[in-house]
Amino acid sequence: MAKALHDYSIAEAGKMLRSGATTSMALTEHALERTKTIDPLIDSFVLLTRERALAEAAAADAAFANGIDKGPMQGIPHALKDIYGTAGIRTTCHSKLLIDNVPTEDSVVAAKFKAQGAVMLGKLATHEFAIGGPSFDLPFPPARNPWNPAHAPGGSSSGSGAAVAAGLVRMAMGSDTGGSIRGPAGYCGTVGLKPTYGLVSRRGVFPLSYTLDHCGPLSWTVEDSAIAMEVIAGFDPHDPASADVPIPDFRAKLGRSVQGLRLGLPRHWFIKADGASAETLRAIDDAAGTLAKLGAIIEEIELPDYELYNACGRVILLSEAYAIHEKDLQTRPLDYGLYTYLRMGTGAFTSAADLTQAMRLRRELALALNAKLKACDALITASTLTPAPAFADHDPKSPPNFPVQLMPFDVTGNPAMSIPTGFSANGLPLSMQIVGRAFDEPTVLGIGAAFEAATNLHVRRPAFDVARAA
């Protein structure tokens, strides 16, 4: 039986577009209709750019008809977290402060998708300024988890995780400063890739923390993240962090065996972590077992204490975020949502010495991780430590601390991908991370693809009570 149109991956839909089996218009109209039906249940979009999407779909179909093929995203619907600047299209960061903000220029990532003939379906919910959420005191409601809308999708790329898991788009762009791509990917059961720091330009994306911000994709399959990386990776001399390095073939290791790969497992990080669920831990051990059966060599390794990585990253993040928002936090504090204010306001209390110590520690921690990666081809470790928490469990007066272990690789800048490992007893996704050497995304993606093929977890989709959406 043929799959529903939204269940075809970017790779599959791309083949269908090129063979004439479907059109970009059909893909786009299907996505718009599905979004109209399902999004009222999960609030993943803050803006649907319907007319633009239909025009871009028509342009993509015309290009195919004229033998013009600009690349793998041509004609494919996608969406952007609402911190990516989009020329002529409102970019709010999910905040009252930017509710009327219409950029005049595209972010580099948005421009790259546009240049390739991709179809932008709209802008996606985020935690306010990629830090404060999930909140009910903002101009838009928080995104909800498609597997159970009473639960959060994680953040801050909350809408990106929700939209991909719900099959509204095959790929959405997120950003990751302390885990904001990988957390929602883990909670929503999608793939989420935080690329190496500097591999994807951040220009035109509203900053949270200059030295920790990363742009990357969330997608339903590993291959689709590789395809997105083909479009967005590249040197940008106007992004001070951009790395002038050769761009790898992101699909080079898809379909390859993991036989003989040495995978480090820093089990001591997560095995006794506060709040870690037994199901999550068991799923990571099972995943390690699966990779071992596929021929990988799993080796437990010791790294510096997880809390050091976390403290280092949080002190840098809070300091830099406060510097960016200082004036508004001083002069219009009540225009921020409560959670945003409480998180960012903490940055007012870091000293110059605190920040300098954090930067010194950062180098030490990055050296320690990368020393281990000389002996290992990659690491596997925890991502989200529990299934997605319920909204009802959040304290309305204090921002939630999502139980995750994601910050270390923002601190070090190494590529890290969250990938599903199974489901909890109550049907919520579980996850782990695959972490690679700097600029070695192909190995991370290759291991992820091998695990995905062995487990086939991606064939399971959330079910929706669409009657409630009417």
């Binding site: 001399p237 001070p240 050091l308 001083q330 007066k397």
Partner: protein
């Protein structure tokens, strides 16, 4: 037994002084939660105070190449 009342009062005074220095006028209903965030921050900054070698220095935070290449 430590005098937690005095400790809490001292911490609150320190918090108020730093907030004032930062130019923050903290809404009353947000003060208790932000103070809790400050306590957590102090835990983290204390954790980072460990012996380091001279090699652990942050000069890489500034790159002259990233300036000149954009001109």
């Amino acid at each position: 037994m430590p005098d937690t009342t005095t400790d809490d009062a001292a911490l609150t005074a320190e918090f108020d002084a730093l907030a004032g220095r930062a130019g923050l006028s903290i809404p009353d209903d947000r003060k208790a939660a932000l103070l809790q965030g400050y306590k957590d921050l102090k835990r983290m900054t204390a954790l980072m105070r460990q012996p380091r070698t001279a090699a652990d220095e942050p000069a890489a935070a500034y790159s002259i190449l990233s300036v000149t290449r954009s001109i």
